[in-house]
């Protein structure tokens, strides 16, 4: 007797594990840079986040009587992404609690991998923002310029917290922003490379874009969501983001507030984003528009997290509206 199964008998060598761990690997360079910018405690926070997410996944699956699939890398990826969107000066308790929210409530109570409606990492961040509003909005650290990456570990972080560029811009205006971060010519390169206050993983636009391009090269993601989201943000910020119409700074908008991280790694999450190309374009435009709306009119300076969470539940609706084009309908039209 031989092994029988349904065709096809050959299959591509791609797998969920391979995709997830590849995305995790793409996040390693921005993490390493973050260690040089904010010090080694970001490595510890990220490790705590990843390990907690994997542990919560294993425990949740045991509790719910499901197969334990922690090795597939999806929980590790959530842990990595959640660490990337929390400030570098928070206590280790924060990522642990975030992991419970993201993985147990956000993923496994929703049905497990593939059935969650909201991006677990962003759900974790939204939960932490609501429960630890002070830490989550003030534990920013000024970039280290002397390579002394152990500084914050020994001195504690409370005394030296700073403010993020978008918060300064929103609360104190462009003049204060210029004073704190410099002229546009100085700001763009330093923001693109990563030398500015911000969440652990969102500082280096360059490394995030490079990772995103690698994922496109691997065909794990396509350009549709990142380009439509960032393009919408740039255009709307240019029109409405300044003191007068058509005077906003589109480049600043995409370089700050985790927009690049959100566009390439969060909004492209397979489970919570649409599958057809047209639906993906509409979804990206929706996230871009909501982000700008929140930044300009809302109470939060960055907006990307909530914009994605607001669009997540619309993914399946959009897929229903923009179905793939059938080969040919039946003669005489669809029944």
């Amino acid at each position: 007797m031989w092994n029988v199964s349904v065709s096809p008998h050959v299959r591509s060598n791609e797998s969920v594990d391979k995709i997830m761990w590849t995305v995790v690997a793409c996040l390693v360079p921005p993490l390493l840079l973050s260690v040089f910018v904010f010090g080694v405690q970001v490595l510890l926070i990220t490790a705590v986040s990843v390990i907690s997410c994997m542990a919560v996944e294993a425990i949740s699956q045991k509790l719910l009587g499901r197969e334990v699939t922690v090795k597939d890398g999806s929980a590790a990826l959530t842990g990595m992404l959640m660490a990337f969107v929390i400030p570098p000066g928070v206590s280790f308790l924060i990522p642990i609690l975030g992991a419970v929210m993201a993985i147990y409530i956000g993923k496994h109570l929703m049905g497990g991998l593939g059935y969650n409606i909201f991006n677990p990492a962003l759900l974790g961040r939204a939960f932490l923002l609501a429960t630890f509003p002070v830490a989550m909005t003030s534990a920013w650290l000024p970039p280290l310029t002397d390579g002394a990456i152990f500084t914050y570990l020994s001195s504690g972080v409370d005394a030296i917290s700073t403010a993020t560029p978008l918060a300064v811009l929103k609360e104190q205006g462009m003049l204060a922003f210029r004073e704190a971060f410099g002229s546009p010519a100085e700001v763009y390169p330093s923001f693109f490379l990563g030398w500015r206050p911000g969440c652990i993983g969102e500082t280096s636009g360059l490394l995030i874009v490079l990772g995103g391009i690698f994922l496109m090269y691997k065909r794990y993601i396509t350009w549709h969501i990142p380009v439509s989201m960032l393009g919408t943000m740039a255009v709307l910020t240019w029109i409405f983001g300044g003191d007068t119409l058509f005077s906003g700074d589109p480049l600043l908008a995409v370089l700050t507030g985790g927009a690049l991280l959100g566009a390439f790694y969060m909004a492209t999450d397979y489970v919570t984003s649409p599958s057809t190309r047209t639906a993906q374009l509409v979804y990206g435009i929706g996230i871009g528009a909501l982000t700008v709306l929140i930044r300009i009119k809302g109470g939060y300076p960055e907006g990307v997290c909530y914009a994605i969470l607001l669009m997540n539940p619309l993914s399946s609706v959009l897929d229903g509206w923009f179905k793939p084009k059938r080969f040919a309908p039946p003669a005489g039209g669809e029944k």
């Binding site: 007797m1 591509s12 003669a331």
Partner: protein, 440 residues
């Protein structure tokens, strides 16, 4: 010759793996001791035997006739005596009624000679010969050929396509047939044109077979004749290039509507090996009793292209091809994308078997399925524009009856979706389940 034609949407590129056999000339396999003729070789009701146990039959003699519905008769592939009217192992139905023939090694093989000039016959006479010779689509579909040659009166046909795409990995049977029997394929094409009463014939071949394209082009050029407009086109190498609807779109740009036949857009498609069988049926009055199959995979000691009698058992093929290797993991009748895995060597080749593959563990993929992560790769791969992921999710959720909205009845089970699925979901299996339960 124009640029390589193809269909625009979907399709996948599995490793071709044709190198194992593409250079090997067709060998005639010696007559086995026993042949098992499954009565239901074609799409339609199985035939009824016209012989009884211990009857002596000659090569090519009628042994089973169509008694109801659509079908074609069955003939003795070799001289011998009827050993049993029983049942045989079957890749899909587990077991199926069959006739077992004990072959007579003493009997001289039949000689099939040119009977008469088919050009003098009427299309009706030719059509009857095709039916009487038991010709069905031997590329795999098994649809009776004479039925496809009588398109409905309300959809006139203007183009005949001969399918030499052979887009499944490993298989080289059509390739070798086109290379070694090009003139016969072209003559078969002319006979089909005459039956259909049209003059245009296009032969489509994937461009991974440049030697076959050359051979067929020369055969076409050498057989130039008034009233027959035949040409060869190269097709891009992409699975499912050889599927009927995709082939028609690639070559003519026409789209066959959902649930309709190719004749709805004025086209009839026949496989090149079927076309050659039609030529043999008409020119030699030879019924379909043998066929070229590819024996391949890393699990067989001597891969080959073999001319075998219909009813030859896989076990005899294994013996002729030097036995299997110890790491053999799966045996597939047909191609690796759409073929059927079988659980026993004691299974006979039918008219539609294009290959027997002996696959080792590293050629197949036995990874377990996981949850659908909605990556949408199956949507990109599907040549029909369907939503395999949704069909799978609905079937798993116990709602197969609601899957018609995702196009389940347009699915021809090519397996492109399951091929690309990173979660290793058995999407073809889900589709088959859905088709049984879904409401049209």
């Amino acid at each position: 010759m124009s640029a390589n034609l193809t269909f625009p949407k979907g399709g996948v590129h599995p490793p071709e793996l044709k190198g194992l056999t593409e250079k090997l000339a067709i060998e005639v396999m010696p007559l086995p001791d026993e042949l098992e003729l499954i009565l239901g070789q074609h799409i339609g009701a199985p035939c009824t035997p016209t012989v009884k146990r211990r009857d002596e039959v000659s090569e090519g003699a009628l042994v089973a006739e169509v008694t109801k519905g659509l079908g074609v008769p069955l003939h003795a592939p070799a001289a011998g005596s009827i050993k049993a009217l029983g049942s045989s192992a079957h890749p899909l139905r587990v077991s199926a009624p069959s006739i077992t023939i004990k072959t007579n090694p003493e009997a001289a093989p039949a000689t099939w000679e040119v009977q008469e000039d088919w050009r003098q016959s009427t299309p009706e006479e030719l059509l009857k010969k095709v039916h009487d010779a038991g010709i069905i689509g031997i590329g795999g579909a098994g649809f009776p050929t004479h039925v496809k040659l009588k398109p409905p009166a309300d959809s006139p046909v203007d183009t005949l396509l001969l399918n030499g795409a052979e887009c499944e990995p490993y298989i080289t049977a059509d390739h070798r047939t086109m290379l070694e029997k090009a003139e016969e394929v072209v003559e078969g094409g002319k006979i089909l044109l005459k039956i259909l009463g049209i003059k245009t014939c296009v032969i489509g071949i994937e461009n991974n077979k440049p030697d076959a394209i050359t051979a067929m082009s020369s055969a076409v050029a050498a057989a130039t004749e008034a009233g027959f407009d035949i040409r060869v086109v190269a097709l891009e190498v992409k699975y499912t290039q050889g599927s009927e609807k995709q082939l028609i779109q690639a070559i003519t740009g026409r789209k066959v509507p959902s649930l309709a036949l190719p004749s709805a857009v004025g086209v009839v498609v026949h496989n090149v090996s079927t076309t050659r069988a039609v030529r043999d049926a008409v020119v030699l009055s030879k019924p379909l009793i043998e066929k070229v199959i590819t024996v391949s995979g890393r699990g067989i000691n001597r891969p080959a292209n073999l001319l075998v009698k219909v009813g030859t058992k896989v076990s005899d093929i294994v013996e002729f091809c030097g036995g299997v290797k110890p790491d053999l993991a799966r045996i597939v009748l047909g191609g690796p994308m759409m073929g059927f895995a079988v659980s026993t060597l004691d299974i006979p080749v039918t008219k539609t078997t294009s290959s027997v593959l002996f696959l080792t563990e590293d050629e197949i993929d036995s990874r377990e399925l996981s949850n659908c992560i909605r990556c949408g790769w199956c949507l990109e791969a599907c040549p029909m524009g369907l939503e395999p992921k949704e069909i799978g999710i609905y079937v798993e959720a116990g709602r197969p009856e609601d899957t018609a909205q995702f196009g389940v009845f347009d699915c021809f089970e090519c397996g492109s979706c399951a091929y690309v699925c990173p979660a290793k979901r058995p999407l073809v299996q889900f589709v088959r389940l859905a088709k049984m339960k879904a409401k049209r």
